[in-house]
Symmetry: C2
Subunit: 312 residues, 2 copies
């Protein structure tokens, strides 16, 4: 059985035909439209046709909150109303069963069935991107909480009344470890006269933002400001990971997103160095590892979500 | 079917015969011995005889770490070796099936079957005592993590590099909200010349420690130092609760232990006031409530654990 996985990101929509062994056998891609769900349905239908095959079902990962299969909120997709039966719209248009998931949940699901989370029954996924996303697998099953809002690792508080977070609260992991928050901080510091080469690196690479690649180059050149700020980011994630382990007794932590893709085990070792002394009684089997599937985790995870819909 | 619940605390061992409706129909009690597990088995057997009835099974809550039904560690019981098959020892002596649980897990279980956690499927229990204990019910089932170490809410970090905790780490909830840590802090402050009536209250009540009752009286008399320190304790618990909710999307938080027994909804409202603005997207059904069963939660929970052993 082949199924289709759709990964809706802030920049691109990626569609893949995925086989039983979680291999992506055909792909299609388009820029994420700045329009409402109807446009997305049309575009996804077109991409599914491009990919071909005879998919039994489709799964889709959306950057938003999902409760009872309904998209409650997608604050990062302009033009999306507060509540949408996106799953129903897609199923009607395509004529196959559709599964709907949060983008980070779907990414961790991909890593769980075919990547770095494979074999773990108690897993925290931390996606370090524009924000810091989180997702949980507990007792061998994806965990969503009472109303689908679980996994907000980025808003675990590591410093009560600490740095301002992008959510407007203070002291969250994301306020130190998310690229958007880091960009705001580094711009303040550049304005305040701190010396750094990171802005030149950004310009040289023709980037409008401080991307993971820009950070990587600044870290490799041992830029002091970038190094200090990245240490703060790693510390925040490490402290949050320790809190999650003390509360949940996990066997695996998977770090994904742009930073993990660029820095791999350098990043996860630094996070582990912070977290280890703060853990009360970690399982001897606990490992902290980088995601393995890169951009494919979302597509593979979404295709796997599709399978569960068919089984139902 | 009647079962026996045994609650081993630092001060007393309480034994109760509990019916199907979670009512305690007979009781016995003794001081916790300062001896190894063998003495406990003898004493519990004696107390079970005193209670009478024809119990089908027995459940016991122990202040320690349990993994695969084996007691891995009980640091607060002097004379207990590192690893003990306490369940097996009790079952052999008594000739009935025995279930073994952590004391806080068993307390929350009691509240779940017959008290303040009843009806909740995603519950955090916070027991504010000498330390700050924690326990979780997730997706309608008690949650223990990969190796039985889950629920350490007291060691969720709310201030990276903050106050020294009794575990030797810094910034944990327990470092602000556990009575042992609070006692250490208030003694330092008294030594440093802070004015407070709490030590006089303690002496007047003939207490060797700053008990929940001593704190309550100091708070009622509006002692400024006690008030400020208790606010720090409530803040720490509130911030930790918010982090847990952001990560786990819960529908119930139950606050138990001495402070909750003395202060009830005054305590839970104060905790909610701190936590509410720090929650990202709490369930509309979320409530933060005090435990209802008082000292009985452990006995009722342990007796319920016994039932699950019989069913197996």
């Amino acid at each position: 059985m082949h199924t289709i996985g759709v990964d809706i990101g802030g920049t691109n929509i990626e569609v893949g035909l995925v086989d039983q062994k979680h291999k992506v056998s055909a792909r299609a891609k388009a820029a994420t439209p700045s329009a409402g769900p109807k446009e997305f349905v049309k575009l996804i239908s077109k991409l599914v046709d491009e990919v071909g095959g005879e998919p039994a079902a489709l799964g889709v990962g959306v950057p938003g909150v999902i409760s009872d299969n309904v998209l409650v909120k997608a604050p990062n997709l302009p033009g999306w109303s507060e509540k949408t039966d996106f799953r129903g719209m897609l199923a009607k248009k395509l004529g196959i069963p559709v599964g709907l998931g949060n983008d980070v949940d779907v990414g961790l699901l991909g890593e769980w069935v075919a990547g770095a989370a494979k074999g773990g029954d108690f897993v925290l996924g931390v996606w370090m991107g524009t924000g810091v996303g989180g997702s949980l697998i507990l007792d061998g099953q994806p965990y969503h909480g009472v109303s689908g809002g679980a996994g907000e690792f980025g808003h675990v508080i590591i410093h009560h009344d600490g740095a301002l977070c992008t959510c407007g609260r203070r002291g969250c992991v994301e306020g130190y470890g998310g690229r958007r928050a880091m960009e705001r901080t580094i711009e303040h510091r550049i304005d305040a006269g701190f010396e750094t080469s990171i802005d030149e690196i950004r310009q040289k690479k023709h980037k409008g933002h401080f991307t993971s690649g820009v950070w990587q180059e600044a870290l490799e050149s041992k830029d002091p400001l970038a190094t200090a700020m990245f240490r703060d980011a790693v510390t925040a994630v490490g402290v949050g990971v320790a809190s999650a382990i003390n509360l949940l007794d996990l066997d695996r932590v998977v770090i994904g997103g742009g930073f993990a893709e660029k820095l791999g085990t350098d990043l996860t070792s630094s996070i582990e160095e912070v977290a280890q002394p703060l853990m009360l009684r970690p399982s001897p089997n606990l490992t902290i590892v980088p995601a393995k599937l890169g951009d494919d985790s979302g597509v593979v995870g979404a295709a796997n979500l599709a399978k569960s819909v068919v089984v139902r």
